[in-house]
């Protein structure tokens, strides 16, 4: 019997040894002054070359610096981050890419898991290099927990050739009513849909309209505001687009991008990051696309909003937090790195580079217009959206409300139900 116990414990030790090896390696790396110092990072697609470029530049001044990048799909990164956070930070990389809408959820649920960057003076030293809505988003209790990376200043991407064919003047579109009217013209003249909103699964257009009106699912104090007048007004636009036959319900990202590429849909209200995906998916449409600011709710109203964008956060469990901080501070404030990101279509939130030449240069793909300049001009006017820790639940309810409103309920009723249900779920 004794032997059995021995065998079992030997096996357990073998299992445990596998887990230990890694930590030992890291310790030697960390103490080996002057030798290689390695950080690990989790990120996805177009962000990878930017990280590589940044690591190369950072290593010039920090010999021996190495960045070990693990490339995965976006959902995989989040699943692993969540699992790691749940396990008390075990197995997380030093730095991880996290999108705007996820930050507050993670911060609220796992307040101890991320490195306090205020302690290093990030907000004091670099805070004013970024728009307020970005730094605000990374802040919990006056402490900043991440470095801003790209932003998603929003605009309406539209097909210049189709607009011309249908006789629509894009610069005459100032309000959402004008936009809907243009949709009717497109339908009558060319039988093409104006938008390709995924009614049941994506409330992005509605969210942009909330943001441009300076409101969100939650108000500044974090109270549920999903049934506000602004919200009703925004949801009405989506409902009208559908009911008046101007929207094609494209389910899922691939279908939407496909619709934009094959000409079934003439416009896409979206964040600046769509530039990258469009040029990649529909290279043959070079010169046929352009971007205008979002329509306003009344003439002269605010047309600036944000959709999407991302940030980097450092794990509080990092073996090498000082190095991770130095690298991230360099990454987010280096103009060269941010300009490299723009090549992949990522719009930088670092505002010190907006007077670089590239911003005033015309972009061939987008009808030879200086679209970066337009996005940059918008950055300071983007209102802050209070995501709170309950963003994911709120979004779920908003999408259900959108589906219900399209399914025949009145917008007021659907949003009121959403507000009540949301209150039940989070309180």
């Amino acid at each position: 019997m004794k032997k059995t116990v021995l065998l079992c414990s030997a096996m357990v030790m073998m299992l445990a040894a596998c887990g230990n090896e890694e930590t030992n390696d890291n310790v030697t790396d960390g103490n080996g002054g002057g030798e290689t110092q390695t950080l690990t990072a989790w990120a996805w697609n177009i962000n990878i070359p930017v990280l590589e470029e940044a690591a190369e530049r950072f290593a010039e001044e920090n010999p021996g610096f190495e960045l070990d990048i693990v490339e995965q799909g976006t959902p995989d990164v989040y699943q692993q981050i969540t699992t790691g956070l749940q396990a008390g930070g075990e197995g997380l990389p030093d730095i991880m890419l996290i999108e705007d809408d996820r930050v507050q959820g993670y911060l609220n649920s796992f307040p101890e898991a991320f490195l306090d960057l205020s302690k290093y003076g990030f907000d004091d030293e670099h805070g004013d290099k970024f728009p307020e809505f970005k730094t605000e988003l990374l802040t919990l209790n006056d402490t900043i927990y991440g470095v801003p990376f790209d932003a998603g200043p929003a605009g309406v991407f539209y097909r210049v050739d189709l607009f011309e064919e249908a006789g629509i003047a894009a610069d005459q579109i100032e309000t959402w009513d004008d936009f809907i009217e243009a949709g009717h013209t497109l339908r009558d003249e060319l039988d093409i849909a104006l938008t390709g909103i995924d009614i049941n699964n994506d409330d992005g257009v509605y969210r942009m309209m909330l943001n441009q009106q300076g409101t969100f699912y939650f108000n500044e104090d974090g109270e549920i505001d999903i049934d506000s007048q602004e919200s009703i007004r925004a949801m009405e636009v989506v409902k009208r687009l559908h009911e008046e036959g101007l929207n094609e319900n494209l389910v899922g990202w691939d279908a939407w991008l496909g619709g934009l590429a094959n000409g079934n849909v003439a416009t896409a209200p979206s964040g600046a990051w769509l530039t990258g995906s469009l040029t990649e998916q529909a290279p043959n449409l070079e010169g046929d696309w352009d971007v205008m600011p979002l329509p306003a709710f009344e003439e002269g109203g605010n047309r600036a909003a944000n959709l999407g964008g991302s940030n980097y956060m450092v794990s509080a469990n990092s073996e090498n937090p000082d190095l991770a901080y130095d690298f991230m501070a360099f990454f987010s404030t280096s103009e060269e790195v941010q300009l490299a990101a723009m090549e992949g279509g990522l719009f930088p939130s670092l505002n010190t580079i907006y007077d670089e030449d590239i911003f005033s240069e015309p972009v061939t793909y987008f009808n030879d217009q200086p679209i970066w300049d337009m996005f940059a001009a918008m950055m300071d006017d983007i209102p802050y959206a209070n995501y709170t820790g309950n963003y994911a639940v709120a979004r779920d309810e908003a999408e259900t409300a959108q589906a219900e409103a399209i399914g025949g309920r009145s917008v007021e009723e659907a949003l009121e139900r959403a507000a009540n249900q949301l209150d039940n779920r989070i309180n």
Binding site: T4, C8, I199
Partner: protein, 284 residues
């Protein structure tokens, strides 16, 4: 204990240890988790609070009823189809059996995500399905955006994927039924249909039970199709228990509540399997 008595334990040790570490421990840990609540970075014991919250959670009830609607329609359709296909493929008259067997089984080995994506492309408002339907004069069907049709889409996708799998199980069982029985039956004047109901089905009974229970467990844990095809929408029309567990854990960081839902699934699987044993199982 002498040497020979110990040997078996050595051999089963790896399997037992893996089972304890990766199966038994998570099952118990998630039961424990379902009695806790996570707030601001730490867990506290809350007794049955998560379960009583379930009682008043309309999304949970929607998910439960969706799961049952899909279960009640999908499992019988699939098993009957699988049985018919298996009988046909077992027939002496059929040529190219290998080809047909492989073709019907192939969906079961394709990637869940890949096939869901394909279905989602084909089920778009202007996708292949609606295109084909328009040739026979049937107007476009809102496959993914209508509450009822979205469920139908999921049932179709699941049936496509799993029928071949069950067919192979039935086929294996059919080959164990002695040919003499059918010969004797045809001498007595029984037609093909009569043979199917009086010989094939009674002989397949234990296998039907086996396939039924496997499908029950599979359907109650249904996740991939609603996740990839409809994200549980429109509204919550295709929300399933499996998807709701995932959303609670990975989107709302409420692992405790997710664990409580998971234990409801455990209880349901146990009860339904018991019922199936009771009604279709062999008495002996």
């Amino acid at each position: 204990m002498n040497q020979t008595n110990r040997a078996p334990y050595f051999f089963i040790a790896p399997a037992v240890i893996l089972f304890l570490v990766f199966t038994a421990y998570p099952i118990l840990a998630s039961l424990y988790l379902s009695f806790q609540r996570y707030e601001g970075g730490s867990y506290s014991f809350v007794g049955l609070a998560n379960y009583s919250r379930l009682m008043g959670d309309s999304i949970f009830w929607t998910a439960l009823s969706n799961t049952f609607i899909i279960f009640i329609f999908q499992v019988p359709i699939m098993l009957i189809l699988a049985m018919i296909l298996a009988s046909v493929l077992n027939s002496q008259l059929l040529k190219l059996k290998g080809f047909f067997r492989v073709s019907f089984f192939l969906p079961a080995v394709t990637s869940l995500v890949a096939y869901s994506l394909l279905f989602s492309v084909m089920l778009q408002d202007n996708g292949l399905f609606n295109e084909l339907l328009s040739y026979i004069g049937i107007g476009p069907i809102p496959w993914l955006s209508d509450a009822t049709w979205a469920k139908v889409s999921i049932i179709m996708a699941m049936t496509w994927r799993w029928t071949g799998y069950n067919m192979i199980i039935f086929l294996a069982a059919l080959q164990n039924i002695p040919e003499e029985m059918y010969e004797a039956a045809s001498i007595d004047g029984a037609g093909k249909i009569r043979q199917f109901f009086s010989i094939t089905i009674p002989n397949l009974k234990p296998i039907i039970l086996f396939a039924g229970i496997l499908s029950t467990i599979g359907t109650l844990q249904l996740f991939d199709e609603p996740f990839n095809l409809t994200s549980g929408g429109p509204g919550n029309a295709t929300m399933t228990l499996g998807l709701y567990i995932y959303e609670n854990g990975f989107e709302y960081f409420d692992f405790s509540y997710g664990s409580a839902v998971a234990y409801v699934v455990v209880v349901l699987v146990a009860v339904l399997s018991f019922v199936q044993f009771k009604f279709t199982g062999d008495k002996s």
